[in-house]
């Protein structure tokens, strides 16, 4: 991992400055990056630098503790874990972290509303999707506690919702039947 150019910390920001076709790379930690961007002289990059500096301010003001307290109800991932790996844990994360994700999405994408293709089978299933994820979590916990009766009850509940979600399609429920008892999956 690269070290910050100004201090001895790990560099987490890698800035490429292009001047007259010549590119230089600068590696900095969050704090030094803010100073660097504040000092940036070129008038063209002022607004970009100001934006970046502001975003860094935002990130730093949310402490790790705050981020740890917010967890997804579907998979249990915390915001700080997400920040570390860059990937979300389940579809529910987009619901539970909707507000926190918006600034990040704004950085990457044009608009925050989907205008493309939509699946044929939709939204009545939205709550069901979250419910199934929660039930799976509970089932995993029940198995861990060796409460197989509870796990079996949850398995049936999951199967019921799945048959709604997947339009009662046999191909999904068939794989369950293939498992030998005691099946709690």
């Amino acid at each position: 991992m690269k070290k910050c150019r100004q201090c001895a910390n790990q560099a987490t920001l890698h800035i490429t400055e292009v001047l007259e076709g010549h590119a230089t790379e600068v590696h900095l930690c969050e704090k030094c990056a803010r100073d660097y961007l504040d000092d940036s002289e070129s008038s063209d990059t002022d607004s970009v630098a100001a934006d970046l500096a502001a975003k860094l301010e935002e990130l730093q003001s949310a402490t790790d503790e705050d981020l740890d307290n917010v967890r997804c109800s579907g998979c249990g991932i915390s915001l700080s874990e997400f920040r570390e790996v860059g990937r979300l844990g389940c579809p529910c994360c987009y619901d539970d972290f909707r507000e926190e994700l918006k600034p990040l999405l704004e950085n990457i994408h044009e608009e925050l509303f989907h205008t493309g293709k939509r699946p044929a089978r939709m939204l009545e299933s939205h709550d069901d999707q979250s419910r199934v994820l929660q039930l799976r979590n509970e089932q995993r916990e029940a198995i861990r506690q060796e409460d197989y009766e509870m796990a079996a009850v949850l398995r049936d509940q999951i199967a019921k919702i799945e048959s709604i979600l997947h339009g009662g399609d046999v191909s999904v429920t068939e794989t369950e039947d293939k498992h030998d008892p005691p099946s709690v999956f």
């Binding site: 991932i77 579809p91 990040l104 509303f113 794989t175």
Partner: protein, 359 residues
Amino acid sequence: MSTEEDQVVEFLDGLARSSGAWLSGDGPDADIVVSSRIRLARNIAGFPFISRADDDVRLRLVETLRTAVTSAAPERNLQFVNVAMLEEIDSQLLMERQLISRELADTDGPRGVLIGPGEHVSVMINEEDHLRIQVLQSGFALQECWEIADALDTGIEASATYAFDEELGYLTACPTNVGTGIRVSVMVHLPGLRMTREIQKVNQAAQKINLAVRGLYGEGSQALGDFFQISNQMTLGCSEQELIENMTEVIPQIIGYERRVRELLVRENRQSLDDKIARARAILTGARSISSDETMHLLSNLRMGINLGIVDDISIGDVNALFVHTQPSHLQRLHGGPLKTAERNAARASYLRSCLGSV
């Protein structure tokens, strides 16, 4: 060995002996646009994303999705390959063919890929997302890619509900893919612009409309073989058609730059050009040992020579195939076993001599 394992072995042998049809060099503008690619990322509702899915869930996803994809398009004759059971050399082979990503090869747990004849269609299961649908076509043919991917996607959805949000679109493990979940890319060959050091023009034209330019076959800023992949970075807020149109507008510009530069080289630097191409051919047909890097560089010059009509006894399809078949896993599979670097370099030279006519 079970019949399915036999099938896969046969399938991989077949791959090593042939070339993806998308490398044929037949499509529109195929002298400069090698191939077009559309990829769709999808996840199934009610399941965690792959990084939070344990092996039981992953196995379940493989079984369910294998059935869903196969039944969505039975006429496509998709071959299922259990990537978790592959030898490293074989997963490298699939990577060299652009049929799976490094991530799918290197990750753990149940995972697989479904590949269609001609390698136009490749559907990865349990990579970063539950499903990654990829369609490849020769030349500049994005609309065709989209029609195939779209139809397959709609078919799969008939038996599996996708994770989708009213506001944010198709939900993906990484927020950079949310919305359409689409990656629209073209692979272009730009030896002229590289020779005249004008590749910057391409970067500038692309960046203006939010497209990324990446060198293929090389790390970082290197672009071995002068191949570049141009793709969209944004997936939310634009429709799939708009993203395809963006690409469709800028690619002709880039084709134009490259063609103009090549014409210039032919008019004003003919001798130097002829020399480069002749040397490339001479080394490729005469060397007894040759590295992958050198091969890429020389094949690139040879390919340009073919495009310009300076070399007229080798086809584009054949030279396209050589880029793939001279890669490490292809050579080793042909040989029937692993080869150390020095042995590979010798095998590569031998293979080139046999294909191009030895000196």
